[in-house]
Symmetry: C2
Subunit: 85 residues, 2 copies
């Protein structure tokens, strides 16, 4: 990570929400007994992109977060809350 | 809103998170005594785009939500929680 120190700080923070989202999506999906493929299809996303979201490697928009929440029948903000919260 | 009924439903739901974000950003910004211009500059967004976010008319990515939260010194998920939560 070249660039200013605070870039990596921001990058690290940026990863935080994406990581939290990924863990929550995966946990909820498995709880619902859904495959990654089924969730991707229902949300209207490519399988690979959906996998990237679960690995915390994507930067989705609020609209995508809401569509995933709707497919998992959960409140969108719950997908963005740290598990212990 | 032409198209299938559920499109408007999804559109309505999609607006929800954007609306919640906008209200929370505006309320927190005013509490911090920041101008819209100052917030836009700190986050690195155009003034007009920042105004659109506050009006709930934009569909930002998680990265943008985190940068706004960082500028307002608040947890990102708090900006996405309904005010009474």
């Amino acid at each position: 990570m070249t660039g200013k120190p605070e870039d990596s700080l921001i990058a690290m923070r940026t990863m935080r929400m994406a990581k939290i989202l990924g863990e929550n999506v995966r946990k909820t999906r498995l709880k619902r007994g859904m495959t990654l493929e089924a969730l991707a299809t229902e949300v209207g996303l490519a399988y690979s992109y959906m996998g990237g979201i679960e690995r915390g490697q994507k930067n989705p928009t609020l609209d995508v977060v809401e569509r995933i929440a709707s497919a998992l029948d959960i409140e969108p903000v719950s997908l963005l809350s740290r598990p212990e919260e």
